[in-house]
Symmetry: C2
Subunit: 193 residues, 2 copies
Amino acid sequence: MAVTTKERILDTTAELFRRYGYTGTGLKQIVAEAQAPFGSIYHHFPGGKEQLGREVILRSGGMYAELFETIMNSVPDVVRGVQNFFEGAAELLRQTDYTDACPIATVALEVASANELLRLATAEVFESWIGVGTRRFAAAGVPKGTAREVAIVLITSLEGAFILSRAMRDTEPVRIAGATTVAALREALADAL
Amino acid sequence: MAVTTKERILDTTAELFRRYGYTGTGLKQIVAEAQAPFGSIYHHFPGGKEQLGREVILRSGGMYAELFETIMNSVPDVVRGVQNFFEGAAELLRQTDYTDACPIATVALEVASANELLRLATAEVFESWIGVGTRRFAAAGVPKGTAREVAIVLITSLEGAFILSRAMRDTEPVRIAGATTVAALREALADAL
């Protein structure tokens, strides 16, 4: 299936956001790397950079949730699934020279107090991730309130670990974040028995 | 004691970084808010924005470590100290409309793959924080290797929680990050007995 110009712009922008953040990514850079005519941005995104940013945040958030689901679906055990998810995150960091981490964290921090429309988009993604994790852990037998807490432990641990790992060029924080999440999940599963 | 122009520039830049990040903060904005003449930046920071950025990262990192030490020194119990630290972080988020969180996280993510000099400064700060936490937990009786892990749990949990809390305008993630860190610390203390 042919990739459309719009998809190329979205993919390129997502990658540039990951590497340079929202403010550090320019429209000229996007069209150059996406090999798209400059006018195509305003054709597909009449609201300009802000609208493009919003769509990239929501799209990247959805893709990352799908990645989580795929990894979790590939093993029967929920604990093993979480371990695989963190191991995959550490491996991807190493493979990409510590570039490929959370697709929206940099932008989330940049816009939190600077752009309300984009802040709301990042909040929507985080809430959706919490929902995905909550449903997954609840399905494994964790009571719903605790399942939400474990989902938040997973996401906050991983996000914080990405910051430290990228700065320190070391996967140790991601490894520890995985162990922390697994401990929280195991305790929640034991409490549910 | 009079605050020097250099200190005003450093303080103002730190606040702007917290709110808008490194890329989103301009030199003109810094001198305007610091009420300093434009030339004063290059007088005090001949390396321009990059040098200023580096000094702000290291200075903010040192101040945050001092805040942690002050809170930990104010109570005899290490667990209570960690609880107070997270409660203080949540309170500050609420009071500042979710602006005042980690002084270096936004910059750390922005520069991780874009500016090696500044990345190294953020790595230096994170390593110093890990050292501060490790010494504190080791002094409370946690074996040294485990003390380092608990320190990393504290920092990664808080950093990740700041991202979610700022996006969602809710202190729930910081509260859960505090509970996660306390659980890790309690287990480490129990193992040490």
